[in-house]
Symmetry: C2
């Protein structure tokens, strides 16, 4: 039992690293098993297919990220400060990834959206749920900020979508330019998108 579940964890760990590094399509089951150090037979004992493995990688990363986002976005701090913590944590996470593997790996969910969403409906559905949940969390913070008259937007759903889109877009550029400083503008841009009169270029650090 102990060894069996070790093998499953090893496969999941190797798959996640390889997907972050090189995407999903480029990978083969044999390569994943080799990186995990488990025989290929083990793979099909735990996972029906490579797609089933990808869905499990997505689900585990989702659970982990939801815990982190909930922790960052709830609590006693003022609502906008909690949003700021989210951006700082995103930048710190991308920086840590860059230090450990040499390149900014970006957002696993964004990467898989652009790579897989149009040819795997199961993955598309899962990723939609994930981004809906992200928008829900951000929107709840905005509703608090609106109640305190700290922002001027009225459609908090649309505003939350725009903030998450800005986050995904800037993470894409952080990956392309392998430069986490691309994320420095997230806070000022969020304020601008929420109508707090602090537009994009106003507090830029570069």
């Amino acid at each position: 039992m102990g060894r069996t579940s070790d093998a499953r964890e090893k496969i999941l760990g190797a798959a996640r690293s390889l997907i972050e590094l090189r995407g999903y399509s480029a990978l083969g089951v044999a390569e994943i098993c080799k990186a995990a150090g488990v025989p290929k037979g083990s793979f099909y004992y735990f996972f029906e297919s490579k797609e089933a493995l990808a869905l499990t990688v997505i689900d585990e990363h989702r659970a982990e990220q939801e815990r982190a986002w909930r922790h960052l976005l709830t609590g006693q701090a003022a609502p906008l400060q909690r949003l700021r913590r989210l951006f700082e944590a995103t930048e710190a996470g991308q920086r840590a990834g860059q230090q450990s593997c040499g390149t900014v790996s970006g957002c696993l969910f964004g990467n898989l959206t652009l790579e897989m969403s149009n040819h795997t409906e199961a993955v598309r559905g899962r990723l939609q749920e994930i981004f809906d949940a992200q928008v829900d969390l951000v929107e709840a913070v905005m509703a608090e900020a609106l109640a305190r008259a700290e922002i001027t937007v009225t459609d908090t759903r649309e505003a939350a979508r725009s903030v998450v889109a800005q986050l995904e877009g800037q993470v894409l550029f952080a990956k392309l330019y392998n430069d986490t400083r691309r994320l420095d503008s997230l806070w000022a841009n969020c304020l601008a998108l929420l109508g707090t009169h602090a537009p994009a270029g106003a507090t830029a650090t570069r």
Copy 2:
């Protein structure tokens, strides 16, 4: 000569459609040749490798897009109106793609950034040049708007990057949700990012 260059165009056309539909990694040379209706020998006559083909697809799409962006972003209209035309044209382009192939295919360059940038330095370099050029074009329009005191940002480079990031992020969601209405908020968000006091949720249509 006529037949030879036909084959090259057919390979390029098939490769672009297949990359837009399914990404780069999932494709094989045999499949591209089958879709193009040319023998596999022709492929290696024109292209050294699959990567060389991808670079050519990128370069041709880049030339086409640069012409379109230049046309939209220059001319007699007021600078911000030209930016608005860019967003409208982006939405119209994604809608046309959705009508012809059933799903929103997103941005070819954004897709390839997330799929390829971390494992093909030649592609990374090319995509960096492309997004730099997009930011240059948007920044030039912003400089005009700033000279007319129509926007309040002072760092037009950073602001242009943010507008392009917002565009990429919203196109990602249009693809994930297969819904071009995700792009409706681009104009209001652009105004907010530029400090024209029209924040994200203020003029949303949903």
